[in-house]
Subunit: 587 residues, 2 copies
């Protein structure tokens, strides 16, 4: 498998790593390695290794950056596990979001297809996704009850505790190792009034904290936000008001994975006697899985089919749909663009964006909202009213988690570097010594050993050793086959297009057998560029002639000559630099 090291400009800034990349040392301690989730957001995967036992927490995907056109997503680089497959005792998945489960179909075969331990709903979502990957192995999933189960995986003993997040069945992992207990929060927030979910078990967390925790890995996603995350209860109150007042139909868009929000919306629709139509493949799939597994309460008759949609008056209808991020093919965008099969905006419609805007999507969402406004809808979004609660703990709750568990060492995970730094600052404020706080990079080994310590004491260290973490990109069926060359070509072509020059020459006389043929795409509209194209042809003929009379050596040199001269000419005439591809055909 080809795993390219990216070298272009924008990547470079993310490659500025402190530790040097050398091969890991063979020590006997407990190693903790994040393969993703630090420095950037996503592709979360943490390795815990003690002697010959390895467990893995989460296997997520990361969405591509702007400078990766055509890439579907990025998955963790598992080069470190090569040769250690037999040591992997199990994979623990904390919850069902794609940044925690998305790499499973691509990676399980490579690490020996170990057993996956996870909660019921998460298992359902993993299985559903696996159906799309017919070449992936059949998974071995063991469902755990986070309230009661304990599992033994090699020298590790694992239990769990429930946390709140915006999908049910999210848990934190309590990993007991021969050197002490390590807690990994997964994604979490504390919601003291969650809806259709239990609040996080603070007593249990405090009890675990009382037993002495060696290290805590905690979610830094919202570490730059002061205060508490708002409760789903507040969101419900706000939505309740909107449902009460909406004069016509409600079109509510949210992430398909926000199953708690979906439940709220269903409950409110039932309260206000609205029929629901569910639109969007991911929304339909998730509702189906959650409903089958008993995670959604829907009264019979609430959800209707599309052929019934126009049989009810507007103020008795709700469309629950995808597209709150302005995704191109999602339902809300299709409605706004008048491309939806049976929904188009009416004057009295209320469109609710019950989600935050993922950074990078601001402009698209703004244009989408504007378009809905223009068609006469009322638009409500989270900046106007509390119609969305994030899934992550803010500073006050992060501090509470640290205080409840009172760990000896603290490792902020999941966030940009500055969020990790801010989270580290919170830990220091509540008394964790700064030398015991490790702000690591992806792949940087954190190690705990008894070396030089008295009985019962353990020393932690952020080593300078890094395992490989360069991007493994997924594009269609290709995993890791798109590297810097392919991406750079895509970038060039997207900017100024390309320009193919085909030069048929007689293989003996080296003379042109016909006029050069030119194909341009994305550069200039050919029909209007006759003069330019004719001039290019003339110049190509001259280049070929010049070479025949002496300098002609090989295809390579003539190609180079055409590329340089024509490239210069086109730039001079257009100030554009298309990719130039000269093809010399000997016939």
């Amino acid at each position: 498998m080809h795993q390219p090291i990216l070298k272009n400009k924008k990547f470079k800034q993310r490659r500025t790593k402190r530790p040097s990349a050398s091969s890991p040392s063979a020590s006997d301690g407990l190693k903790i390695i994040c393969l993703g989730g630090l420095e950037e957001i996503g592709r979360n995967m943490v390795i815990f290794e003690y002697e010959n036992d390895i467990i893995i927490v989460d296997m997520g995907l990361q969405f591509p950056e702007e400078d990766m056109p055509g890439i579907d997503y990025i998955i963790p680089n598992t080069a470190y596990l090569r040769g250690k497959e037999k040591n992997v005792r199990g994979v623990i998945i904390t919850h069902g979001h794609y940044d925690h489960i998305g790499a499973i179909p691509h990676l399980m075969a490579k690490i020996g297809n170990p057993v996956i331990y996870t909660a019921k709903l998460t298992a359902g979502m993993i299985k559903k996704r696996q159906e799309e990957f017919t070449n992936s192995p059949k998974l071995n999933i063991q469902i755990v009850d986070p309230d009661t189960d304990k599992i033994n995986l090699g020298r590790f003993e694992i239990e769990f505790f429930r946390v709140n997040h915006n999908i049910p069945d999210s848990f934190a992992a309590v990993i007991r190792t021969p050197l002490g207990t390590v807690v990994h929060t997964g994604d979490f927030k504390f919601d003291h009034h969650p809806l259709h979910d239990k609040p996080a078990d603070l007593n249990r967390i405090a009890r675990i904290g009382g037993e002495k925790v060696l290290a805590l890995l905690s979610d830094s996603t919202d570490a730059d936000w002061p205060g508490h995350q708002i409760s789903e209860h507040d969101v419900e109150e706000e939505l309740d008001k909107i449902f009460e007042k909406a004069p016509g139909r409600i079109l509510l868009a949210t992430f398909a994975s926000l199953l708690n929000r979906v439940q709220q919306v269903i409950t409110l629709a039932e309260k206000f006697n609205r029929k629901i139509i569910i639109e969007g493949r991911s929304m339909k799939t998730n509702v189906e899985i959650a409903h089958q597994l008993g995670y959604l309460n829907i009264k019979p008759g609430t959800v209707i089919e599309k052929n019934e949609f126009n049989k009810f008056p507007d103020n008795r209808l709700l469309a629950l749909c995808t597209g709150a991020q302005g995704e191109h093919n999602a339902v809300l965008m299709r409605i706004a663009n008048k491309e939806h099969r049976f929904i188009e905006i009416r004057k009295n419609d209320t469109v609710v964006f019950s989600s935050s805007v993922v950074p990078g999507n601001e402009r698209t969402v703004q244009i989408l909202k504007d378009n809905l406004y223009r068609q006469g809808a009322q638009v409500v979004h989270y900046k106007m009213l509390d119609v969305h609660a994030g899934g992550h703990a803010k500073q006050e709750d992060l501090t509470l988690m640290i205080r409840l568990l009172n760990p000896e060492y603290f490792i902020p995970v999941y966030g940009y570097h500055y969020q990790l730094i801010l989270h580290a600052g919170l830990a220091e404020k509540v008394g964790i010594p700064s030398k015991n706080i490790f702000v690591a990079d992806n792949g940087q080994i954190i190690e705990f050993t008894k070396d030089g310590k008295r009985e019962g004491e353990v020393a932690g260290k952020l080593t300078s050793v890094k395992v490989p973490t360069h991007y493994v990109m997924v594009d269609g069926l290709g995993v890791g086959d798109v590297g810097n060359v392919v991406l750079r070509d895509r970038q060039i072509m997207s900017k100024d297009g390309m320009f193919v020059i085909i030069v048929p020459v007689d293989s003996h006389s080296k003379k042109l057998t016909a006029e050069p043929d030119i194909i341009s795409r994305g550069f200039i509209y050919m029909k209007e560029a006759d003069v330019l194209i004719n001039e290019v042809k003339k110049r190509v003929v001259k280049i070929v002639d010049k070479h025949i009379s002496g300098k002609y050596t090989d295809r390579g040199s003539i190609r180079g000559q055409i590329r340089d001269e024509i490239g210069q000419y086109l730039f001079q005439k257009t100030e554009r630099r298309p990719m130039i591809l000269p093809v010399v055909m000997e016939v």
Copy 2:
């Protein structure tokens, strides 16, 4: 000039226009037409036409959307003025920002190069930019003093009043027409404590309002923000604290066009005894123009050259630079990427982002900040402290402008549709009847006539007539030559690359004379795709053979066959859809 109508998906959503596009009627009233600045942000240009007299206010550019790869910017479509060039009496430019002056080099020749009337600093900026366009005509610029000058342009008489904005010399235009007075605010805010600038002249504005204003066109950019815009004075206080505390160097990035901010920074540097280096071409140019024209006060010795930069202790240095938006080649990005010639981040550096983040740049700026943090700098941005004040009036000030001028008709300009709607709502609240408020689209003619009115009365109307406003895109030296075909090709190639198949066939026997040649770029890395490429070649040979034995009709049909079959095969194997370009060469 080819001016394409864009039809692809994302464009469509912006094309949803209420009025039908038919040719303008020939009426005798006063016509007001915005060619840009409505529905979207930028390419501001307003036409005022009364019988045979036309004046134009502003000629700006608009930055491209995400789905316009390679496009530099968009300029107003002046098709409406074709044949009316001789009627254009003058162009008024309200201030020197690119969204108000940027189209001048491209459009002046097309409308007969009329005289430009503007204030001194704006004139300097227009002239400087014009130097880059050697094929554009020499401009005729007449400098006006906004406090005292009155100019007559055909049947129009124009005076001005100063407004605050974040560049000096911004003014509003008071356009007296035979049917009444129309005020166009340009970009504005009220700053009662501006720095290095006079506050807007509220008394004069009120006096104009007292004379009866027929219509007001007012800036809606911040109409979705409650309250007042913060004063530059508050920004200075905040910056003062940062300058006082910064232990090492200060790297301050802002827009090069924010000349008032630049002056503040210079004054503070002088106060705290810091030497300044100015980095970035646009920053250098703007400082130079403004200084030459007397708009910047800089003490001798404050600004130093790069060879002196490392001669001063860190706490006596300030770098004033471009790149607050995370622009790829701007100074701050180069510093962060360790590509700057002589500045790299040190532990005690304080980096100040004294600007807002333009929608669409959030993610890039986030990554830039993270990279600076990672290298040890302190990072301060506008969300943390008031280190930036926007240039536009918020709701309270917008209301004040409407009340001071008390117009009969109100036309919100400059903003997305929803901002125009919100601004219209403010006008209605202070008593403008909703039938007198016109939320127009780009190109939609607003007309004032005396038809059917008593002596001294004028009727305004938002007509259903639209003049052409489709995008004119500038890409390098090409203006309007990139249309939907070229853009769509760029989008396809940026996603999955392209795949050229060259098939040399004998012109008599129609048999292949050699193996097909394949060139792929941005699709798959060729060296690793041998199997795939060989299979494609085999299939192409079969397609050609099949066609020779009967079905072969012309190059077109064989090309189509190759495109379909190979496209399908590649998708099946890779789930990618590169652009496939079959070339049949008859030899």
